[in-house]
């Protein structure tokens, strides 16, 4: 064992090496595998065609999320309602058949534990600090908020993990993103990560694993950390991590899949040693002052197109790089925005509060706090709040948050990925704008021709109330 100070990433990597080859690639053991309906059918088909089995079904959970409609799943008599789109129905049925065939636990659309994979994992205590976690979904980076090395994989890799419980990987470079100071009022974890992506760019973390360090992350809740790590991939990094600490342990204790008894004590002892050693070095370092972060929104079609809410739509000529100038010209045309327009003058017709980035109980509370006693603006035609899981939904309803949301004129839906990527019926109409708490503002992401502005749940709730992009600090 080396005496060189190690990063959090290096420690998790070292603990999972099955074999290292001469060319520098390693066979890495995978502790937890989450499976959803979109990226798994071809993997199961591959196993079947080759007569292969799943090596560790006990380390695997399957849950549908991307395709599910977020309208009622049962009728008044308790009968399960059919899914209208035949392709979605087929993909969902395929997962429901594949999971038991290969001995994997399947959480059904009508189970209270159902939800977005990246909400379900931490919520069930399935995602643990120091674990290697994969899923055929790039937002697997999310689980880094627990202190896990978690990253998205393609379908061939899903098949590889199902068959072997390992992946062949090359070590990534490391990048430190340090945020220190005091966040201002109304500045949330979503604003922090949007600001970070604005600083490093969408390719800033390519080839790297990010470690988020500094007092801002240490003082953040686990749910906030999940939001931050979730969007590491928007900064180009396949994974992002935050060292586990007492906040993490308190969050995990007693959850259904969390270790118990002697295993728990052993786990906590090991987890406490995972944080980067003093003197550990990173290939890249970025340092940001918390005081420089404002409530942040995106104006373009790349997650790096961010601005403080007090800003204006930028002019393409203000960018030094020629291809970025082209990209901005394209994206302002797509977004229907004119340079110099104040962001707070941009009207929205749709509001989406949900996604694996922002659909946990703290997100719903933040939105409800803004919505309480207020009404949705008339120009906002469609506004939905989609909890991340059935358990989040139950908790919100126990706190009466659903009533606040409904009384404000927004819809309270069933859990799923929903309008984040519009694979289900929840779509933003062409040419219309959406204030969205999701993670990607790509062209057509929320439906063909949709125009997305990314922001925090509180900011999206504020936009619902005023009908425009709004500085939430003016409402609270």
């Amino acid at each position: 064992m080396t005496t060189k100070p190690r990063t959090l990433y290096q420690k998790i990597w070292d603990a999972h090496v099955v074999d290292t080859r001469d060319d520098g690639t390693s066979l890495i053991y995978i502790d937890r595998h989450l499976v959803h309906e979109v990226t798994s059918p071809q993997a199961f088909e591959g196993l079947r065609a080759a007569g292969r089995t799943v090596r560790r079904p006990d380390l695997t959970i399957a849950v549908p999320d991307h395709n599910l409609p977020t309208t009622a799943r049962k009728d008044a008599a308790g009968n399960v309602l059919p899914i209208d789109d035949p392709e979605s129905a087929n993909q969902l049925a395929t997962l429901k058949a594949n999971a038991p065939e290969f001995g994997i636990r399947y959480i059904d659309a009508t189970d209270r534990e159902q939800g977005i994979v990246h909400v379900v994992g931490p919520e069930q205590g399935f995602s643990l600090p120091g674990a290697t976690i994969v899923c055929g979904d790039s937002h697997t980076a999310c689980h880094g908020g627990i202190g896990a090395l978690a990253f998205g994989i393609g379908t061939t890799e899903v098949e590889h993990v199902l068959a072997t419980q390992t992946l062949l990987l090359k070590q990534s470079k490391t990048m430190e993103v340090r945020v220190e100071g005091k966040l201002g009022a109304g500045v949330t974890p979503k604003d922090v990560i949007l600001h970070v992506i604005g600083v490093i760019g969408t390719a800033g973390g390519t080839g790297h694993v990010i470690e988020y360090r500094g007092n801002v992350f240490e003082e953040m809740s686990v749910e906030g950390r999940l939001t931050v790590c979730n969007m590491s991939i928007e900064g180009g990094a396949r994974a992002g991590l935050i060292a586990p600490d007492e906040t993490t342990f308190a969050y995990l204790k007693g959850r259904p899949y969390s270790p118990t008894g002697a295993d728990w004590d052993k786990a906590v002892a090991w987890w406490k040693g995972l944080a980067a050693d003093p003197g550990a070095t990173y290939d890249k370092s970025v340092s940001i002052r918390a005081e420089d972060i404002q409530p942040t929104v995106t104006w373009g079609t790349s997650p790096e197109d961010t601005s403080a809410i007090g800003g204006v739509v930028p002019a393409p000529e203000s960018f030094a790089d020629a291809s970025k100038r082209d990209a901005v010209t394209h994206s302002l045309d797509y977004m229907g925005l004119t340079p110099g327009t104040k962001l707070t003058d941009v009207e929205v017709q749709n509001v989406f509060i949900g996604s694996c980035t922002n659909s946990r109980i703290e997100d719903i509370r933040a939105a409800a706090e803004v919505l309480k006693g207020r009404k949705k603006a008339d120009n906002v035609k469609w506004a939905i709040v989609v909890p991340g899981s059935g358990l989040v939904k139950e908790q919100a309803e126990a706190e009466g948050l659903d009533r606040i949301i409904i009384e404000a004129g927004l819809e309270w839906r069933e859990p799923g990925c929903s309008a984040c990527l519009a694979m289900n019926p929840d779509k933003v109409p062409p040419g219309e704008r959406c204030a969205s708490t999701s993670n990607r503002n790509f062209t057509g992401r929320q439906g063909p021709g949709s125009r997305t502005h990314l922001m925090s749940p509180a900011m999206a709730a504020a936009a619902a109330v005023t009908g425009k992009l709004t500085d939430v600090r003016e409402l609270v």
Partner: protein, 205 residues
Amino acid sequence: MQPVNAIAGRAIPFGRKNVDTDVIIPAHWLKTVTREGLGKGAFETVKKEPGNVFTDPEYAGAPILIAGDNFGCGSSREHAAWALLDMGVTCVIAPSFSDIFSGNAFKNGILTVALPQEAIDRLMEVAGTDPIDVDLESQTVTTRFQDRFAFDIDPFRKHCLLEGLDEVGLTLAQGDAIAGYEAKARDTLPFLARTPATAAWREIR
């Protein structure tokens, strides 16, 4: 997987930067349960732009695609690689690629070639009129105008592509090493090595 070596033919001069996988294949195409037939949905939004290279008959069936920096960023959907294959593309040349996309491409026998922007600019020019030759064995991209650009590739990836090797089969051959790791982890990291769904240790192979 089909072995890959020499790829020769027309190249689609796309050239755009930060092409995300939502652009390569929009989400509504992901409802399939097979790998085939995604070429129809490839670059669906770009195909609606007047004068785009994807509906230009000049480049129909071209085996090479030329793009800008950070190609394949965004979602991990392997459907992006399947869509390219289905439209006949087996090689993408760009200054850089997202990590997940380049892995997915490799696993489907698509060669990703990273070259400096100057080389891309030159190849974009050539692609308008003439074919391009990509040779994996010698790691070069050449044109009939004596252009010659060398590229780097991970030796393991090169070997797998040239031989058409199935990675799952290769790893399964290391079953003893994996079982050895699991036996050790049961003692050192029991809280990771099992879940409540794990039966008695002895039942694990």
